[in-house]
Amino acid sequence: MFTPTYVVQQIINGVNLGSMYALIAIGLTIVYGLLRLINFAHGDLMMLGAYLGLLLLSATFTPLLLTLLIPMLVIGFVGVLVERVAYRPLRGAPEVTMLITSLAVSSIIENTMVMSVTAQPRAFTLPPGVNQLHTVAGVSFSTLDVVTVALSVTLMTALTLYIRMSRTGIAMRAAAENLRAARLMGIDINRVVMVAFFLGSALAAVAGWLWAAKYSTVEPFMGFLPGLKAFVAAVIGGIGVIPGAMLGGYLLGFAEIFFVGFLPPAFSGYRDAFVFALLLIILLIRPNGILGTATDERA
């Protein structure tokens, strides 16, 4: 029953979903690496990106590329703003306080959206052509799928180069390794954290746009589950390690699609349960993830 075309189709779907998880997971993992903060508001920035994209799309004169670039920039700055207002006053406080604050920020963003645009889901419609289906040798994919994968890979390559080569990128890696030592070496931690939030949030906005385009709908709580799953992806790859977030994102995308695609249909309802069961298994057998170094995460 699993013909080669069917398998290829599942792989394409997996790459697609994985790309979006990877984009979200990067922001989570950078921030976790620097501040040991599980940023629960990250998924909501993704949601804001999707809404802003929708707003720009409905103004028909905006070129398609700009409906993606403007949310990237704006949400990047929103991320910086959130860090400045909510997280920076807590620098050096117990990790739990930041965690609670990020839950509060998440709730504030979501409910502000509920108040301003209501909780009703809205259709996210793309200009004609973008969702066009192509069929090559029995395998079908849309132009959007190609854009998703190409864009994600481009952005992730650019990010990797930036983190590897630029002074800020090197500073970021140093700060992630040891915040205090980095500060002693004269690294401006606030700047590094700011850049981290900008980059992470911008990528989340892209993921939000792509997610909304894929499922053709936006609603204020759409970021919760992808954000949570992206954290699972980051843990799979090794939390705090940027290539790990990408790897984890793709692995989780594949795992999820294969779970639905290759098991009897009765299981497909348990898709999300599978993801979190996977998290528990990973934490049991390899808590540092695939690319994570064996730091003493064990208590």
């Binding site: 040991r36 599980i38 909510a86 006053p89 807590l90 406080a93 117990p94 990790e95 739990v96 306080t97 930041m98 965690l99 609670i100 604050t101 839950l103 509060a104 920020v105 709730s107 504030i108 409910n111 502000t112 509920v114 108040m115 209501t118 909780a119 919760f224 589950l225 949570l228 954290f231 699972v232 843990v235 939390i239 309802g269 348990y270 898709r271 999300d272 349960a273 993801v275 979190f276 069961a277 998290l279 528990l280 298994i281 934490l283 049991l284 808590p287 003493d296 995460e297 064990r298 208590a299």
Partner: protein, 336 residues
């Protein structure tokens, strides 16, 4: 007289006083206020027991909604009348079909199952440092909801279970609240509780002093889950109808806010936080409706205010109202 004996007597006196007040409430208040009062009792149970993990042990659990759901569904399936089970649950296992358990054993069973699930989650997660527990327990919430949605034979899926016997009332919820406070207070003031606080303050030092980390954290987490399960059972039999979406993240978040407003690591703080933050949204809901002025009510406002409160407490008064200290009730003495 020994301090502990004296405290016990004073404690009993307070419980009698509480009983008197509840009796007064029962005979004067209408159903709307009695219901709010019952919910206050449930929230006290949830906040005080969450304090054991999140406050005293320093592990951040976000599993309230999941454990409540487990407790609620378990108790509901046990307490439903047999006739209703045969009519609505044809697929239910034979042995469960024939049972219509009284409320108390059903509630305890709900708590025990929640504690069992907590133990399953705890084994992989509590061995680790870092706040993986927060994400894992949120994941558990998603899992529980999906199981409740898909396990048609037992949970009736999205239709949920309705027509539960409306046996829950202020006597049950405050009775359990008193038990919760007593148990948590006894644990915190025992060597186990000291070990928990040790784990929170400095796990390495605690370990060096012979504290078994996993066991200590596990104890706090499972006991906390037990009471959350109990609270879920009480809640289910108060509102008499449950669906998978009844147990959303909002519940968990609000209990966390009650905890941090009262002050993590303070039992009296938890009680006060639970009371204040149950009443606040009730008041705000009326504001939301009043603001409607013809249009739809401004949903979301009360939730924003609660979240804002949490963020402000974290930024400006991290220790909460009570700052980890206990309000000593008049008549009680410090334990020697």
């Amino acid at each position: 007289m020994k301090g502990s004996t004296r405290n016990l007597l004073v404690g009993v006196a307070y419980v009698v006083l509480l009983g008197g007040l509840l009796w007064l409430a029962q005979s004067t208040l209408n159903n709307y206020y009695l219901r709010i009062l019952a919910v206050i009792g449930i929230n006290i149970i949830l906040t005080v027991s969450l304090n054991l993990t999140n406050g005293f042990t320093g592990d951040f659990s976000l599993g309230i909604a999941a454990f409540m759901a487990i407790g609620a569904y378990t108790a509901a399936l046990l307490s439903l009348p047999v006739a209703m089970k045969t009519a609505s649950f044809p697929g239910l296992p034979e042995w469960l079909q024939g049972i219509a358990a009284p409320f108390l054993p059903a509630t305890i069973a709900g708590g025990l199952l929640a504690a069992g699930v907590a133990a399953l989650v705890g084994v992989p997660v509590l061995r680790l440092r870092g706040h993986y527990l927060a994400v894992a327990t949120l994941g558990l919430m998603v899992i529980v909801r999906i199981v409740a949605n898909n396990w048609q034979d037992v949970t009736r899926g999205a239709r949920g279970i309705n027509g539960l016997p409306p046996v829950s009332n202020i006597w049950w919820t405050f009775g359990w609240a008193v038990i919760t406070i007593y148990v948590v207070w006894m644990i915190v003031n025992s060597p186990y509780g000291r070990a928990m606080i040790g784990v929170r303050e400095d796990w390495l030092a605690a370990q060096a002093r012979g504290v078994r980390l996993l066991r200590t954290r596990m104890l706090a987490f499972t006991i906390s889950a037990f009471f959350a399960g109990v609270a879920g059972a009480l809640w289910a039999h108060l509102i008499t109808a449950i669906t998978p979406s009844s147990f959303s993240f909002v519940i968990t978040f609000n209990i966390v806010v009650m905890l941090v407003v009262g002050g993590m690591g303070s039992i009296t703080g938890s009680v006060l936080g639970a009371v204040l933050l149950t009443l606040l949204p009730e008041g705000l809901r009326q504001v939301e409706t009043a603001l409607a002025s013809g249009g739809a009510p401004v949903y979301g406002l009360s939730q924003i205010i609660i979240a804002l409160l949490a963020a402000l407490v974290m930024i400006f008064r991290r220790q909460g109202l009570f700052g980890g200290k206990e309000l000593r009730l008049p008549g009680m003495v410090e334990r020697e």
